[in-house]
């Protein structure tokens, strides 16, 4: 009966996936509920902002710099075919602001801080520290998840802003310094091509990605299985799920935002 077995296995899989979805949504709503309920613990939030945000600045700046630089080289190569090298500035800025800034920042933060958050919360789960919090009438969602979720929503857009700024600088340095484009052309073309709507769309993406990052990292840690293997699996799943989610959501957001802002 291979057909029955296959159907059964597909059915079980679908049920698992929808159950997981349901649970993660309940988890999210309860965390958001705790976020608006006083007392507010700012020092926990600041500590997470430091961990997720401030400690990522160096690596984000480095990636931003080289992304901008490589965009300038690639842009010059492509645009030269159309005799349009004057537009390198616009190409670099638009790609960074609309697409690469938010996406690469999010992926980097997921790899660096998302895995760390999942592992930390997962270990707290398996060593009964989360149970201990609950036994002391302290809600783990409020104490652990709220600061991380909010810090993600704030830190990713800020880091994205930095990524883009440094990236444009890198692009400028390569285009003007190495490829010999005129500085005036680079700047004027860039300024005339980029509208505030491009910046809004990049910003909205960054906020959404920050939210996805915090949600997935916390949820995977909170539902971690037993032992070292459980933490291992949770961390892997956290990074994979969040990265895939960011890229999928990116496609839909881009389509929607482009359509909305065109009108």
């Amino acid at each position: 009966m291979p057909f029955v077995a296959a159907t059964e296995s597909i059915g079980r899989h679908v049920m698992d996936v929808s159950e997981n979805w349901g649970r993660s949504c309940i988890f999210l709503f309860r965390t958001l509920g705790q976020a608006v309920r006083p007392p507010y613990q700012f020092h926990l939030f600041i500590a997470q902002l430091l961990h997720i945000g401030a400690n990522s600045t160096l690596v984000i700046a480095l990636i931003g710099l080289f992304t901008g630089a490589v965009l300038a080289v690639q842009g010059e190569y492509t645009l030269a075919k159309f005799g349009a090298t004057a537009y390198v500035g616009s190409a670099v800025a638009l790609s960074l602001i609309r697409e690469l800034g938010p996406v690469l920042t999010a992926l980097m933060v997921i790899g660096r801080a998302g895995s760390a958050i999942t592992a930390e919360i997962g270990i707290m789960r398996i060593t009964e520290q989360i149970d201990a919090l609950r036994s002391m009438a302290v809600d783990p969602l409020k104490y652990l998840m709220v600061p991380r979720l909010l810090a993600g929503i704030i830190a990713v857009p800020l880091l994205t802003g930095m990524f883009i700024t440094v990236g444009i600088f890198g692009g400028y340095a390569v285009a003007v310094g190495l490829l010999g484009l005129s500085s005036g052309t680079f700047m004027t073309q860039m300024i005339s091509a980029v509208s505030s709507l491009d910046v809004y769309s990049g910003f909205i993406k960054a906020v959404v990605f920050g939210f996805i990052f915090g949600w997935v990292a916390c949820y995977k840690g909170y539902t971690c299985g037993f032992g070292a293997v459980g933490v291992n699996r949770a961390t892997t799943q956290s990074v994979v799920t969040a990265s895939v989610a960011v890229l999928v959501v990116d496609y839909f957001l881009t389509s929607i935002l482009t359509r909305v802002f065109m009108e």
């Binding site: 060593t127 149970d131 201990a132 609950r134 036994s135 809600d139």
Partner: protein, 249 residues
């Protein structure tokens, strides 16, 4: 004070607790004993409401913790509990001092000096002064247990749930912990549950002993009766014999 009524708990096919009923009266302490893996720790987690039973209900001070709809309602019941976990479950990112201060800081809005005084008082009563600035990873298991105990006692809870407070402690410190528990009994009127493998030492701090076996309470009586009972499983357990109704699994 704590009523456990027909509580069952299963993990997949494994039945850990099978319609367990137990009354723990106000001002009385009950020891729960039984072989490893019978579900003593699980029973404690059911009482604190961090696991939900499959059947039955548990009342803590007349409040039904198994029926509580939200975590918020459960927290009101949990505010009366002082819990020591079997693994101590200290927060490993906080120092011993911060661990002991944690419940006070989270639940009351006291001034820093008041918190400090409470922490120092509690730490002194458990001889923990020299460890206050260490992290849990840096201190021996026996000390961690005492820190867990301090964290439970600092709130002066009306109900204590101690999961093996003495395991991993040397005999001298172990006796000190028993003295401390007795001291708390006199001071606050100890209501609670102490899980322990130390028979008969644990009898000096409890009024009743309940033995779990095969998911059920097979004996629940005073320590004197427990020692003299004719129940074969209890006899075997007390004497540590390998022959008898208790099979090593």
């Amino acid at each position: 004070m704590i009523s456990i009524r027909n509580v069952s708990k299963r993990f997949g096919p494994q039945v850990v607790l099978d319609r367990v009923s137990l009354e723990i009266e106000a001002g009385k302490a009950t020891a729960i004993v039984g072989p490893s893996g019978v579900g003593k720790s699980v029973l404690l987690k059911l009482i604190m409401g961090i696991m939900d039973p499959d059947e039955g209900e548990i009342l803590v001070c007349g409040e039904n913790i198994t029926r509580a709809r939200s975590e918020h309602e459960k927290n009101e019941i949990r505010a009366q509990l002082g819990v020591l976990f079997q693994s101590a479950a200290l927060f490993d990112s906080l120092t011993v001092y911060e661990n002991i201060a944690f419940p006070v800081e989270q639940r009351f809005s006291l001034a820093k000096e008041q918190v400090h005084k409470k922490v120092i008082d509690t730490a002194c009563s458990l001889s923990l002064e020299r460890y206050l600035l260490s992290y849990p990873e840096e201190i021996p298991m026996g000390v961690r247990k005492r820190v867990g105990l301090a964290r439970a006692l600092i709130m002066e809870p009306s109900i204590f749930l101690f999961d093996e407070p003495n395991t991993g402690l040397d005999p001298v410190v172990g006796q000190e912990v028993y003295d401390l528990i007795n001291h708390c009994r006199e001071r606050w009127g100890f209501t609670g549950v102490v899980i322990s493998h130390e028979i008969p030492e644990v009898f000096q701090v409890v009024d009743r002993v309940a033995m779990l076996l095969g998911g059920r309470v097979i004996e629940c009586c005073s320590p004197e009766e427990f020692i003299r009972t004719s129940n074969l499983a209890v006899q075997q357990f007390m004497k540590g014999l390998t022959d008898g109704p208790i099979k090593i699994q």
